[in-house]
């Protein structure tokens, strides 16, 4: 794997700032990953049943 992510913007004088930013970015990536993990789970049938029931409550449920 080629990783050329050298982060050229990082300077010694601002290393604390860069470090903090990097950590916050990592937290952001992790949060989204956590969220996306649930999003990508298959939707349980009960959820679709709710709307199927809603359909039959209506006239005849023809889509």
């Amino acid at each position: 794997m080629i990783d050329q992510n050298d982060r050229p913007l990082r300077r010694a004088s601002s290393s604390d700032v860069s470090e903090a930013r990097l950590r916050q970015q990592a937290i952001g990536v992790k949060l989204r990953q956590m969220f996306d993990e649930v999003i990508s789970e298959p939707v349980p049938e009960e959820f679709l049943d709710i709307l199927r029931r809603a359909d039959s409550q209506r006239s005849g449920g023809e889509d």
């Binding site: 990783d3 990097l22 990953q33 956590m34 993990e37 009960e46």
Partner: protein
């Protein structure tokens, strides 16, 4: 209850299709509010029923994701007010969540993040989730939470700082043993995930 005319069949079909598409997002948001996966799905189902029942009051063309998230959030807090057992369930719920996400593909750091997130005050957690993971603008998050934009901004930034502190110090309990290297695991993992741009 706003008294509006019922939707015509075509609008109703559009509404329904969009609502179905939002189910995964509502489940994810509910999971972060509840912690416990089973309770979260109950909450998400209630919210979907409420959204469906209120479909006539939804303005087609406005942000349906924000609208449904607001319904879910209101539902959560109205249930929470009724639930005196909430706090004593928290610990148990956190453990069950870990089991629920016991996926061999899921890196350890994700569990650490989940636990750390669970330690934040609820209003900070939801603000951070909406903005940081849900893809909402500060203004939208403010609408969902029913507070000022500035309040959301400050909650998000406090939440970020607090999370970082928790993850760096390992200030949470896991089987009674603090893990101090959660942040480094997260850093390493984030680097791998984000990859070179």
């Amino acid at each position: 209850m706003p008294n509006r005319e019922p939707l015509d069949p075509a609008s109703e079909a559009i509404f329904k299709r969009e609502l179905v598409g939002l189910i995964p997002h509502l489940r994810a948001f509910a999971r972060t509010l509840c912690g416990d996966a089973t309770a979260a799905d109950d909450l998400a189902q209630d919210a979907i029923m409420k959204a469906w029942d209120a479909r006539a009051s939804f303005q087609i063309g406005t942000n349906m994701k924000a609208w449904t998230f607001m319904i879910l959030r209101n539902q959560f807090y109205s249930e929470k007010r009724r639930s005196w057992r909430q706090s004593q369930l928290d610990q148990e719920a956190a453990e069950r969540t870990l089991i629920a996400v016991d996926d061999p593909e899921s890196p350890v750091a994700l569990d650490e993040m989940r636990l750390a997130l669970g330690m934040l005050p609820p209003e900070q957690r939801e603000a951070l989730i909406l903005v940081g993971a849900g893809g909402f603008a500060y203004e939208e998050a403010a609408d969902i939470c029913g507070c000022a934009v500035g309040t959301v901004k400050s909650r998000v930034s406090r939440a970020r700082r607090a999370l970082q502190g928790i993850l760096e110090q390992g200030a949470y309990d896991r089987d009674g043993a603090p893990a101090g290297d959660a942040m480094s695991a997260i850093l390493a993992d984030a680097e791998r995930l984000s990859g070179p741009r």
